[in-house]
Point group: C2
């Protein structure tokens, strides 16, 4: 009944996709469930996207925007190269339910042609995030704050791993896990590992 413009619907769909995947997982993302949330009928979704896959892609694009925005808003402004990473880790709480979407989709990838589009989009996304983290670390490596022989891209993946492993544990314990306390310890370990 609502009859919205394609533009608005597409955005609505992308938002709803992220919410459903974040809270209930890919397995529970069904066209009927998605349509119900927008108060339309499942087949109406196909007016705006050609497939479920395309809708997931739209969700990923939105997610990337959101995460990059966090980086942009908290650009390095001090001499400390680790400062922006620390801040990103702290902010993680705010977009935790969003972060869960990323590994959920990544770990559903198969070595299969059907998933190749999804995989490529994930890779671009991941490359952007890791690139951002690497760049920050590289700065610290050059100004002597971090080890000269530090492999900054490996370190960037390790840093991202803090978020992934805390999310994994959070899922497995059904929420009964002190994510903030773990991140604090993991951050201390990370600093020790990369510092001079």
């Amino acid at each position: 009944m609502p009859r919205l413009s394609t533009e608005k619907r597409k955005e609505q769909i992308a938002i709803a996709i992220l919410e459903i995947i974040g809270n209930e997982g890919l397995e529970n993302l069904s066209m009927p469930a998605l349509a119900k949330r927008l108060d339309i009928v499942p087949s109406a979704l196909y007016r705006h996207f050609s497939s479920k896959e395309e809708m997931i892609s739209a969700g990923l694009d939105l997610l990337k925007l959101k995460i990059m925005d966090v980086f942009d808003r908290h650009e390095a402004d001090s001499d400390d190269a680790l400062e922006p990473l620390k801040r990103f880790l702290d902010l993680h709480r705010q977009f935790f339910h969003i972060t869960t979407v990323f590994p959920r989709i990544a770990f559903s990838l198969a070595d299969n042609e059907t998933f190749d589009l999804r995989r490529q989009r994930m890779q671009k996304f991941h490359d952007s995030v890791l690139g951002r983290i690497s760049a920050t670390l590289e700065k610290g490596r050059r100004n002597g704050q971090l080890r000269k022989n530090l492999d900054t891209s490996a370190a960037a993946l390790s840093f991202w791993g803090i978020l992934v492993s805390s999310t994994l544990r959070w899922f497995i314990t059904g929420g009964d896990f002190d994510v903030e306390a773990y991140k604090k310890e993991a951050w201390d370990m990370f600093v020790r590992a990369v510092s001079k």
Copy 2:
């Protein structure tokens, strides 16, 4: 046509479940696909298990056995507390396709009653593995090899995170990622982070 005993079928099903989830993901695990692999009809599966969920559980039980076996066979025998962990990391290659199953299932969990059984089984599994890693680290902490103030359970999760983040990157790049090189760097960082 084959007509095997329930005992043998159950084992066959558990093995096939791990193979399918590991290679093609949970999304591609269908009863028709599973049945075809065993050369029976989908409904025949329900003679041996009451649901798809139960079949996944059986797969998880088998996976736990396999991973614990690796720990058992490479029990600490030197004074170096990090030695068994290093060896586990090296062996990871051998059971890589198995390891992928764990995060795949973990990141499909939802905050949903239907998934509670799966979640609990994952948690027991994860607790066992982390417990094993923690115990090793604890030994090193007591004999003075590692930092006195090391939070061994956080460190154990970080260690497990090396496997998870390398698997994540492997998936995202479609296999175009040097897992062994990354693990080497990540291990160096880990040693630096936990050592005295």
